[in-house]
């Protein structure tokens, strides 16, 4: 078991957004957090990273209680995080974005850049461009690549395919599967339910901050009224 | 050894003048969150306009009015470019304005006497045959008359729907705009009013001291006024005046400390250093100031009348 979230109550300022959520991520798994927007998916990821307020509950990573540990130390412990918006450094070049991803490692990162570029050939020709000149899909790939540069042992992805065209989204999904196959477990919030269930191993369905269904992706996918379940209509 | 009573009265007069500056900054910063770091510029404009006009033998009422109008107008004009932007831009613009205004009075000898300043400004009220002390008392009466007027104006504003709009703008500009308030106009209006009050304080200052020179209007003056508001309590007019008294008392006592205890420090340096330390301490440990902002409905008197009415309505609804 890599990550375990126990009875989490989290939110912003005074308002809890998610209530009593428990999540488990095991080795080599893609675990999906699904639910309409406002259901608290992002909040869960942010509270793991320490960007949202944890009112109750515990977060355990590799057997250590990491509740309230600042983000830069979590990164040092091997957690990679890709936020949904502003997930790149717009005023830096693509190459610099990648180098910042490997900030914590002392050794030369040139080889890693090459390696990650093998993984994301789309980024190859644009290393010297300012990152805010990239298109939406390229930004998302860059964000993923940046997180991978840190050689994470757990990756948290917040809606990696939001506002991407279907084709680009498919590309991102296939990258995510490849990352999993490299042995990095992934906890991702997603809105593309069907596609996500197809690639994920386990899923939690959240509605209005509560978990209304969980289980292996196959089981959930089999549910005939998936749409209604997902929107909380069932 | 100076006359201690005179010294005390002088301090009281100063506190009155600075009380007005403090009230005006409270209006801008405390209620509207406008960072006017150029308070001294408007104070100086008021003082110089008053000095020039008083030497031309205009009566006090006229030159005080003109001084406030000119200061208010300059305030309005220079704040416009920065008002739509973030508060730090206004702060920088205003601090720069203070320096530029000083540059003008230093260099325009024909108008403002250059580095030597203007002297021989007659006091506003001249009564024949008064002793020095009595004349000082007349001055204090005049200054406190103006202070009370300013206080009343500020309180009326704070306890009116206008003040409620200012507070709304301070907390959330977008909210104010979404509920029909022309944020820009309110800010500009408040800034102009605050500057005008500073101009009036400047006019009082000029006729009280009898001479003006560029060296009286250093940025430390602005800082003292900020100190008064922050120490007294932003968005609390009583606090602002209290702050003025406290800071003035603090300044005087640090000077006395030098005179009577004989510290080997320059009094001005000591005063500024202690003030700076105090302000940092207050910002650190009590940013809400001595007197907190009161969270009450607009008009207490009105409320008292209203509560029984509210109760009556309640029983009526229940029956």
């Amino acid at each position: 078991m890599v990550l375990e979230v126990l009875n989490l109550v989290a939110g912003y300022w005074k308002i809890p957004v998610v209530e009593d959520i428990s999540i488990r991520v095991d080795k080599g798994e893609i675990v999906a957090l699904l639910g309409p927007n406002g259901s608290g998916k992002s909040t869960i990821l942010k509270s793991i990273m320490g960007f949202a307020k944890v009112f109750k509950g515990r977060i355990i990573y590799n057997g250590l209680d990491v509740t309230g540990v600042p983000a830069n130390r979590l990164v040092r412990m091997g957690i990679g995080y890709v936020p949904q918006v502003s997930n790149i450094f717009g005023s830096l070049t693509v190459k610099e974005n990648l180098e910042i991803g490997a900030y914590l490692r002392k050794e030369k990162v040139e080889d890693d850049v090459e390696e990650v570029l093998e993984f994301f050939p789309e980024l190859k020709g644009m290393l010297r461009r300012r990152a805010d000149s990239l298109s939406g899909g390229e930004r998302q790939l860059l964000a993923l690549a940046r997180a991978l540069m840190g050689k994470p042992r757990l990756l948290l992805l917040d809606e990696p395919t939001a506002s991407l065209s279907p084709k680009t989204a498919l590309n991102v999904f296939s990258k995510i599967v490849e990352i999993r196959d490299e042995g990095i477990p992934i906890l991702m919030a997603e809105q593309n339910v069907l596609k996500t269930l197809e690639v994920s191993d386990k899923a939690y369905i959240l509605v209005s901050g509560k978990c209304i269904a969980s289980g292996s992706s196959e089981e959930i996918l089999k549910d005939e009224d998936l749409g209604k379940l997902y929107l909380g209509l069932k | 050894m100076p006359d201690p009573l005179m010294y005390a009265l002088d301090a009281v007069a100063y506190a009155g003048i600075f009380g007005m500056l403090s009230l005006s900054l409270n209006l801008e910063y405390g209620y509207t969150n406008l960072a006017n770091f150029g308070k001294v510029a408007f104070f100086m404009v008021g003082a110089y306009v008053a000095a020039v006009m008083a030497r031309m033998k205009y009566p006090f009422a006229v030159y005080a009015l003109v001084a406030s109008l000119v200061a208010g107008f300059i305030g309005l004009l220079t704040s416009l470019p920065a008002l739509r932007l973030r508060e730090d831009f206004l702060a920088i613009t205003m601090i720069a304005l203070g320096e530029v205004m000083k540059l003008i009075v230093k260099n325009e000898e024909w108008l403002a006497g250059g580095v030597w300043g203007l002297s021989g400004i007659p006091p506003a009220v001249v009564v024949q045959g008064l002793s020095f002390r009595e004349r000082l008392l007349v001055q204090i009466a005049l200054i406190y008359g103006c202070l009370v007027a300013c206080y009343v104006v500020c309180e009326l504003i704070a306890k009116s729907p206008y003040g409620r709009v200012l507070k709304t703008i301070r907390e959330d500009e977008l909210l104010a705009a979404a509920y029909g308030k022309n944020v820009f106009r309110y800010k500009a209006c408040t800034f102009a009013l605050g500057s005008a009050v500073s101009g009036l304080a400047g006019a009082l200052f000029a006729q009280y001291i009898g001479t003006v020179s560029p060296y009286m209007f250093e940025p430390t003056v602005t800082f003292s006024v900020w100190m008064m508001v922050i120490l007294g309590g932003p968005a609390n007019n009583t606090g602002a005046v209290l702050g003025a008294f406290l800071v003035e008392g603090f300044h005087r006592s640090s000077r006395l400390l030098k005179d009577y205890i004989g510290l080997p420090l320059d009094p001005i340096n000591l005063q500024v250093m202690l003030t700076a330390l105090l302000v940092i301490t207050v910002v650190f440990y009590r940013p809400q100031g001595m007197l907190k902002e009161r969270i009450t409905p607009l008009d207490r008197g009105l409320l008292k009348k209203l509560k029984p009415m509210y109760r009556r309505v309640k029983t009526w609804v229940r029956s």
């Binding site: 005074k14 | 206008y162 709304t168 509210y310």
Partner: protein, 253 residues
Amino acid sequence: MGSILNTDNLVKRFGGLTAVDKVTLNVEEESIVGLIGPNGSGKTTLFNVLTGVYRPDAGKIFFRRERIDGLQPHQVYIKGLVRTFQTPKIIQKMTVLDNVMLAVRNPGESLLAALFRRRRWMGFENRLRERALEILRFLGLDKHAYTPASELSGGQMKLLEIARALISEPKMMLLDEPTAGVNPVLAYTIFDRVEELRKRFGITFFIIEHRIELLMKYVDKVYVMHQGKLIAEGGPNDVMNNPDVVKVYLGSV
């Protein structure tokens, strides 16, 4: 009953991103209309364009047959179109009552009136206060009328937002996620109140809501937004059985 708000090919771009893409919609008078769509589909941006926070790059907005595009937010408000915000915008350092009362344009809001003609606005203020108390009672907040707004709970803050929007006697209200961060019981209360307001005062509602299960019980019509475009409209059942909508929410395989 005619239409109260309609837009014609409304466009708003941010750099290369088209946040609102040729939106043409029509809200009937005295109806409750929902606006749903996945995150980042441009719903809140649409609200911001409608209320003048952003200037549209193209297209027209008509409110009661009057052009309102290009107006400043405070001018839009004066026309009778009022909005609430996703995260409640509550002035912490005011009482609950003042938080409500600030919404109304008041003769005492001019500097001169505040100083010299106090009689004139005080009467208005008193009447306004009574109305505010009435509205607070309607929403169950009257007990807290004189407490600082910072002492309210998250759900109560949402109600306070609605109270504030109500007192301005709008013709139409735009509610941005009125039930986000609110417990289910209170969420139903909020929607019950909305329904009641529509009946009693004839206010039109346009509501962004994520709790689709809740929204569907109350609305007359739903618009579905996706990547800045309106992809479906119609009654709740039609929309929820529309394959395009399901596809938007569940994604494609």
